[in-house]
């Protein structure tokens, strides 16, 4: 395997790790206003991701930094091309973080309501826009000879890309609902379990529509042919497993299953675009590939050594923090003010 392929895989891993981890905390942020019946419930809901959400977000920062270092052209074309959507994602992540961090600092109703809006919209927007962005990548964008995006904003908001946004939005929400069922107790737990079960069929319909339309709309199936192969099959089976596990009350497994749906669904996208990173809809000669977009072999080698050393260490201590805070969050744990 060459260095470029290794780094393509690593960046895929970072983005998929980000979708898996921040996926459920987006979901928690989206569900917070709907599953809580009072202020205490809202605080319980937020505290289920309290010690985690920030570290989850670092997966995105790392993906961005790694992309800059390993594939500067991919980084430059993607983020200057998706200028306004990325701006919205950044704003959303800003107000969301501030919402979490500042919410409990003041008792006033308007303050907490504002924070709730920050958290809700700050979770909805990125959950939706990441789907739009990656769908657009696999549709192919008008990328010119100089590697720059030549289109306009409406080109990014085409119907299929919007459907892709809906897919990530509802999938993260379901993932978050099942995460909440693992971290809460009593009535709140019952409510989130009900919500998760209710969501399964509509989410399934949206996922299936998106996948079937994908044959026509994306470059993915040029690669795969009619029979999609192993990865998409695992994604589908995991999604079916979600409802099976929920029905036998095994929410831990159900969480693993929504996680697997997100992981394998995203893998399909990355596998399908490989070795392209930004296909051009104008001319195959203008495609950005892992070769013409990459850094020098020396840079990739140094980065590889660092990644091989540090990624396992990060996984170890991040895993440890989940272990430390493994207990469910109860209503009694919330101070009265």
């Amino acid at each position: 395997m060459d260095l470029q392929t290794f780094w393509f895989i690593l960046i895929a891993v970072l983005f998929i790790g980000y979708f898996f981890l921040e996926g459920f905390d987006f979901g928690v942020g989206i569900l917070m206003p709907f599953v809580s019946k009072d202020e205490v419930d809202r605080r319980v809901t937020i505290n289920t991701i309290g010690p985690f959400w920030d570290a989850n977000e670092v997966w995105l920062i790392t993906a961005g930094g790694a992309m800059f270092a390993a594939f500067p052209h991919w980084y430059a074309t993607l983020f200057s091309g998706f200028y306004l959507p990325l701006f919205l994602i950044l704003l959303a992540l800003i107000v969301r973080a501030v919402g979490f961090e500042f919410r409990s600092k003041m008792k006033e109703k308007w303050w907490r309501l504002t924070a709730d809006h920050f958290i809700f919209w700050g979770s909805v927007l990125p959950a939706f826009l990441w789907g739009v962005a990656f769908t657009n990548i696999v549709i192919g964008l008008p990328i010119g000879e100089d590697m720059n995006f030549t289109g306009t904003l409406p080109a990014l908001l085409n119907p299929y890309a919007l459907l892709g946004g809906l897919v990530s939005l509802v999938m993260f929400t379901l993932h978050g609902a099942i995460f909440l069922s693992l971290r809460t107790t009593d009535e709140l737990k019952v409510r989130v379990e009900k919500t998760a079960k209710m969501m399964w069929i509509p989410v399934g319909v949206i996922l299936l529509t998106f996948a079937l339309l994908g044959y026509r709309q994306t470059i993915l199936f040029d690669e795969f042919g009619i029979i999609p192969g192993t990865l998409p099959m695992i994604a589908i089976v995991s999604f079916v497993a979600v409802i099976v596990f929920m029905n036998i009350n095994r929410y831990g497994y159900a969480f693993a299953a929504t996680g697997a749906t997100i992981v394998f669904g995203s893998l399909v996208v990355f596998q399908g675009m490989f070795p392209l990173v930004m296909p051009s809809s104008l001319d195959p000669d203008f495609h950005l590939t892992i070769y013409n977009a990459s850094s020098s072999d020396l840079t990739l080698t140094i980065m590889s050594v660092l990644a091989i050393i540090f990624v396992p260490i990060i996984l170890a201590y991040q895993g440890w923090s989940y272990w430390v805070f493994r207990e469910r969050v109860t209503r009694d744990a919330i101070p009265r003010s």
Partner: protein
């Protein structure tokens, strides 16, 4: 305004704003860790109260540092795509390492520290805040490695119109990095130190838990005194390195148009960039030679000579930075730096005399210092970044050639207004919270019980 100017304004606004919070994080994280270490070693509950008081403020400030940092990570690609293509091979490495070795540690262990008071053994919990402090400062090293390379490009070769990595060790040991990194981090220590000192002074003036806050004031004084002295000496190192590697920046810092030998240091001047003159000057003879070369005789080159040399090397063009801004930023930074040293040693002297808590003039001055540290930090970066213009990578890439060609002017307007508006609102909220929690004083703690720093 053209897209280039808009993109520069946006970078300036978002970066200056980001750097309000970063230096505080650098210094305050270390001070909170020191306070908790005092608690761990002595068992004095006052130190625990102080740890939580400053810890709470630290988390508020840290949050804003993080969220504005996310914008930093992506705006190179957004507004400066051609720059990103040119430098990615080199510039991307420290950014990626920063995330791998610093951001993950900071975010994970800060969560463990905030919510771990009730769960972790005391020593492990103390280690968490130290890891946050170390990682914060580590991240500064990596990002300064990236910035140093823009100032003094080393270890690269130009291949196909972009800079490719040739020697990683050269970039790690970039001479600029070795002087800029301690200077910037120590400046952050002053900022954090002055915040702790100023807030403690405020509480002492209000006679609210004065006995407790005298303890934090003393720690902050020692910390700030050491940091302010070392900031000055490392600043001097940096000036001497700059005169070698970026003589144009040094000449602009001094408003020096004609080469001088020996060179005098300018205290005041009215700069006219169009005519290329500095008038109404007050100059200290020989002092620029001292600043630049540590002796009384050396030559320091002026902007007119350097402009001619640049034209010879890079073709016709205007290679002068905005001289007035660079000149005055430098004076504000140095003047404030001297003031910080004076205030810190004044405080130490009062402490020695046993009058620290009684001298209201000193206590009030300390409160004002909190705000002046930001001005000094910003002025320092103005010298570094404006002084490098018109280059984005010194002598390799012009700022004008780094901007994204695919981004419309209207888009930049939208994002600039958006960021400025949201940042403005957040600044008000954060300032209010720091004031509100500052005023409340340290939370009462009981022996033998633990509560977390806060619950969301």
């Amino acid at each position: 305004m053209e897209a280039l100017e808009l993109a520069r304004w946006q970078f300036g606004i978002t970066t200056v704003y980001h750097f309000i919070f970063v230096p505080l994080t650098l210094g305050l994280s270390v001070l909170v860790a020191i306070l908790q270490t005092f608690y761990y070693r002595t068992g004095d509950i006052h130190y625990k109260m102080l740890t939580k008081y400053f810890g709470k403020l630290f988390v508020i400030i840290f949050t804003l540092g993080i969220v504005t940092g996310i914008v930093q990570e992506f705006q190179f690609g957004m507004n400066w795509s051609e720059y990103s293509r040119f430098v990615g091979d080199i510039f991307g490495i420290p950014l990626a390492i920063e995330a791998l070795t610093a951001f993950f540690i900071e975010s994970t262990f800060l969560g463990l520290w905030i919510f771990g008071w009730t769960r972790l053994p005391k020593a492990v919990h103390l280690a968490c805040i130290w890891l946050v402090a170390i990682a914060s400062n580590l991240s500064a090293i990596w990002i300064l490695m990236a910035n140093s390379w823009m100032q003094v490009p080393v270890g690269y070769e130009l291949v196909g119109g972009r800079a490719e990595l040739a020697d990683f060790i050269a970039i790690l040991l970039n001479e600029r990095l070795l002087v800029q990194m301690p200077h910037t981090i120590l400046g952050g220590f002053i900022t954090g130190g002055m915040l702790v000192l100023g807030l403690s002074a405020w509480m002492i003036i209000r006679n609210q838990q004065a006995e407790i806050f005298l303890k934090s004031a003393k720690i902050a004084l020692v910390f700030t005194a050491v940091a302010s002295l070392l900031t000055a000496t490392t600043g001097h190192d940096q000036a001497q390195e700059t005169v070698k590697t970026q003589p144009m920046k040094m000449a602009a810092m001094e408003g020096l148009w004609e080469t001088e030998q020996p060179a005098s240091f300018s205290l005041f001047a009215v700069i006219n960039q169009e005519e290329g003159t500095s008038s109404r000057e007050i100059r200290l003879p020989y002092m620029l030679s001292v600043l630049a070369h540590n002796n009384l005789t050396s030559e320091v080159r002026g902007m007119n000579d350097l402009q001619a040399e640049m034209e010879e090397k890079h073709g016709p063009g205007d290679y002068l930075p905005p001289v007035g801004i660079v000149y005055w930023s430098f004076r504000i930074m140095v003047g404030l730096g001297v003031l910080f040293i004076i205030v810190a040693f004044w405080g130490l002297w009062l402490w020695w005399k046993g009058k620290l808590q009684d001298n209201r003039l000193f206590l009030k001055t300390s409160i004002v210092m909190i705000f002046l540290t930001f001005l000094a930090n910003t002025a320092g970066w103005m010298v570094a970044e404006m002084g490098r213009q018109p280059w984005v990578v010194y002598e390799l890439l012009l700022t004008a050639d780094g901007v994204s060609p695919s981004v419309f002017k209207s888009s930049i307007w939208i994002t600039m207004m958006g960021f400025t508006l949201v940042y403005g609102v957040l600044a008000v909220a954060a300032f209010y919270l720091v004031w509100y929690f500052g005023k409340q004083g340290a939370p009462e703690e009981e022996e033998g019980t633990e509560t977390n720093l806060h619950t969301y």
